[in-house]
Subunit: 138 residues, 3 copies
């Protein structure tokens, strides 16, 4: 069994941002030389997400509105977590969006349906944060 | 390491439906000949879900009501994604329910607790869509 | 490829509780002797969750409040599932929090960011329930 590991680093200019990282994960897969197996791709921070959905700006603005409805950023005082922090909402938003994806590798490629794309979801940005790409297989 | 891949196809009559696919996944596992490893089972479409929960009709109707509360289908105009589409709610419902499950394989069986069953969750149906079953192990 | 399996058992005193199980999973990893691979850690019950987030009491009380807003426990009659049961809310809360996590194993350790911790999320406790730890790799 082969294994491969890489960290992808991000620093967004805004508190929240969705970034299509599919090309970076495809590069990792090529570097790994693995043709059959599984890719794990996870946020290494607990206020960020890795998820799979559509690369469509309208949907991304719907995510922003929807997540703010489910877990509003403000007032910061609504959350007990926000004593020295102001990012409780980011922990909850990431919970909705998920920490990780596992993707099949078949014949050296990400085994995706037609519109599947991998995103980094940042919910407490403006600082350097990481995604882990781990690939195992043959 | 062995690997196995199969697509399961679905075409629901209604926009939303939950289908117990545990028997199909068990058939895949038997076909694979793998006795120790992991099964990845994921929706290949971004308006559908694969998740694990109870095969109980009351709970399934609760899911329908609950998901409509969290991410209502209508009015379609409430979502920016719905310009040429009407399925933004399906993207959000699938986000809540999750894209995929990873299940342990032990002694040739899905290593499940007493009530765990795998479901295909369709949120924008009435057309042919797929689930991927990928199994790796020995 | 090596594989390892262990069940972790819990019986909480209260209906809902979050328990940091990172030390137990690290013990499993040491016992497995696996240095490169993947850990799957999942609730074996459909009213409980395994998830990764911060070990911070304020955040945990925010989770309690937030999940009660998204899927209230009472009145029990609001859910069709609650005929012989009273735990429909626990199925929905677990859906939000997720069934499982997959964690990379690198050089014999859980490959975690600085604040990642694994939690057992109990939403219908006061009885014995299980988490599965399955590790595959070399």
């Amino acid at each position: 069994m082969k294994s491969y590991r890489k960290e992808l680093w991000f620093e967004t200019r805004t508190r929240r941002q969705l970034i299509n990282i599919t090309p970076e994960v495809e590069t990792c897969l090529r570097e790994s030389g693995i043709t059959e197996g599984l890719v794990l791709c996870n946020a290494m921070h607990i206020t960020a997400s890795v998820f799979i959905n559509d690369d469509e700006p309208g949907l991304h603005s719907d995510y922003e509105t929807w997540l703010e409805t489910l877990a509003p950023e403000k007032p910061y005082s609504r959350y007990n977590h926000n004593t020295y922090e102001d990012n409780a909402d980011a922990h909850l938003k990431r919970t909705v969006m998920g920490r990780e994806v596992v993707v099949a590798v078949t014949e050296g490629k990400l085994d995706f349906g037609p519109w599947e794309r991998i995103f980094y979801g940042e919910f407490d940005g403006k600082r350097r944060k990481r995604v882990l790409v781990k690939i195992i297989g043959d």
